[in-house]
Structures are given as structure tokens and as C-alpha cells.
Symmetry: C2
Subunit: 196 residues, 2 copies
């Protein structure tokens, strides 16, 4: 990233890492990665994550689609999400912009994304001194949606359905896009935890 | 975090989340959480992570101890680490400072931490405009230790033994402590990935 030319400021991205705590994790992941609809994003799967790049709403749609498709009621699974936009080191390549059908997974998410999810997340804004105020704004948006469960060291806790949480992430990222040059949202989603 | 008093600036913290991709994940995690030596840190396990707070070197020692103790040669496992220090919303509580024995897991890590680990990570510095330069410094430290494998969208890639990677994290955090008020290191460690 360091030393690259300034990229296209419209390119949003998300790294989605999925961890099904099951001996069947390869089968589960292969299936959801293959069936997720990618009409509106550039996609690449590496050792750590599946990476989506495109318009912000399309990236959220693809990330939500992959998460919901990996869900199994009997499997404890965790998903690590890194949404990022505006990095000065980003490059104007590896992306798809699809204005005609920007959210091809939306009806699938509405239909199957009604299971409960616990979430920890942190919102990071760079290059500005009032970043704590921006974090407070983002947390306020969660409270308005009744997703807020509390704050603890280094993270804020949310609970809601998968569809509700990704709708909130989209709202946060749209807010950030209007107010902040470079920002990252790090979220960890947990389903069917035996600790719950 | 938001709205709290300014905390003790010496308190470092790390959230350690472990994801063994195995039906035996509960047994594995319970055992390593129980046997890790906690003489030098405050500790709490919640739904998402085990959290350690104390002196920076003690927090790195505890995080490394837990990661190494969870390793099994036959299990693909991922560990998500959030090191954080200097948050203006942090509070001066929930910590242990142990100056007499600050790294009680160090001999265990030296002895058992020689397995290979793939890592993606990002270093975040807040409230400053030259944060990209600080990222470049941190990456240079990885190159000097021959851990650097490349950079891709949103993360830098490392490979080394567990002991080598945590020694590098400690160096990064010591550098950050001297130069930056508030910083976060987000790292994901992967072992025995079938993709490798």
C-alpha cells in the first residue's frame, strides 16, 4: 500500500474472513464462496479472506451475502470483516462498478438473514483530531436502530439479525463517506456461540 | 469508551480471539485459557475474546502464551488480535502491573512457539496526519526481521514462527509507544491452513 499512487476515491472494499468451528469448514466455505452473487464487485479469495471491491453498497451486499450463505443453525461460526475506504495508498484497480444491479444479494439476505448475531466492532477514522466524536456519532446510529448492547474495552457490542447489522454497517459507511476521507470499520460477528 | 475519563496511559491491552476450525474447539480453548500464565496481566473472557490488560510487554507475553498453547499440528486455527493503547476513552481500571515477573510465558513461547504462522495485519495511528509514514516505519521493521511477505489490499502479509511474530509485535508496540499517543495493531494469525 505504501508508496502507491492515489487511487479512485469511489472504490470501497471489504475483507471477509469466515471461521466455522467445525470439521466441515472447507465444504461450508467453498459452497458459500461459489454461490455468492458477484455481479457488482471484484472478488479475490486468498489464504485469509475473500476480498470484495466496488461501490460501497455493493461491497456491503457481497459481504452480507457471503456471511448469510455460510450460516448453519448447528454450527458456531465467526466472521471477521474489515471495511475500508479512502486509504491514500489504495490503487485504482481491482474493482467493479455496477450501477444497474448494485445489490444482487439483497433479496437473499432479506429472506435468509433473520438469525440472531452478536457483534463486536470498532470504527477508525484517520488523519483527523476529532475522531472520537466520529466514533460517538457512529455509536449513536446503532442506538437509534436498537442494536446497541454496550461498550467494553476497545470495542462496542451489538446484537441484531444479520440483515439488521449489515443495514447498520451500510448506514455507518454512508455517514463516513460524507464526513471522513479515510476510515476503517472492523467488525466480528458471532453466531451460535456455546458461551451465549 | 466514549465519554469516559482519560485513563492511565501505561495500560496496554489486547483482545485475543481464537478460532480452531474443529468440532473440538471448546475443549481446545478451555484448556489453553486455563493453563496460560496470568501473573502479569488482568484477564477477562467474554463471548468474543480473552482480554488482557497490563504493561505492554506483559500483554504481548499473555497473548503469545495463549496462542501457542492453543496450537495443535493437525488443526487449522485462526487467531484475531487487537492490541490497543492510548485511547482517550480508556479507564484507569481492569489492569495488573507486575514489574518483578512481567513475562511469565516467555520460556514456554521460546520452547513451543517454533511452528510456522501466516499473518495479515494493519497498524493504525490516530489523531495525526502523518499516519502513513508511521505505517511505513512499522513495515520496515518487519522487513529487517525477514518476516515481510508482501502487501495487498488493506493489509500487510508476514510469515514466520509464532515466537518471531510476537517478538516483532512487541518491537512495533514499543516503537509506537515512543512516537504515537493512540494506536491499534490488528493482526490475524493462521496456522495449518488447507489453502497453504
Amino acid at each position: 500500500m505504501v508508496g502507491c499512487e492515489r487511487g479512485n476515491k469511489e472504490i470501497a472494499g471489504c475483507r471477509v474472513s469466515l471461521y466455522p468451528m467445525s470439521d466441515q469448514f472447507i465444504t461450508l466455505l467453498s459452497k458459500s464462496i461459489k454461490t455468492n452473487r458477484l455481479d457488482a464487485v471484484w472478488s479475490d479469495t486468498d489464504l485469509f479472506s475473500t476480498l470484495y471491491r466496488g461501490k460501497q453498497e455493493s461491497v456491503v451486499d457481497a459481504a452480507a451475502g457471503l456471511f448469510v450463505r455460510t450460516y448453519r443453525p448447528e454450527v458456531h461460526s465467526v466472521c471477521e470483516l474489515t471495511f475500508s475506504k479512502g486509504c491514500p495508498g489504495d490503487v485504482a484497480q481491482d474493482y467493479v462498478f455496477n450501477n444497474e444491479n448494485p445489490t444482487p444479494n439483497s433479496s437473499f439476505i432479506s429472506q435468509y438473514g433473520n438469525f440472531t448475531v452478536q457483534c463486536k466492532y470498532s470504527f477508525y477514522a484517520f488523519g483527523i483530531t476529532n475522531y472520537m466524536n466520529e466514533i460517538a456519532e457512529v455509536v449513536t446510529l446503532a442506538k437509534k436502530r436498537n442494536l446497541y448492547e454496550g461498550s467494553t474495552h476497545y470495542v462496542t457490542i451489538l446484537e441484531g439479525t444479520a440483515a439488521e447489522l449489515f443495514a447498520y454497517f451500510e448506514e455507518v459507511l454512508a455517514y463516513a463517506d460524507e464526513h471522513i476521507e479515510h476510515y476503517v470499520l472492523e467488525a466480528t460477528l458471532s453466531v451460535n456461540s456455546p458461551s451465549k
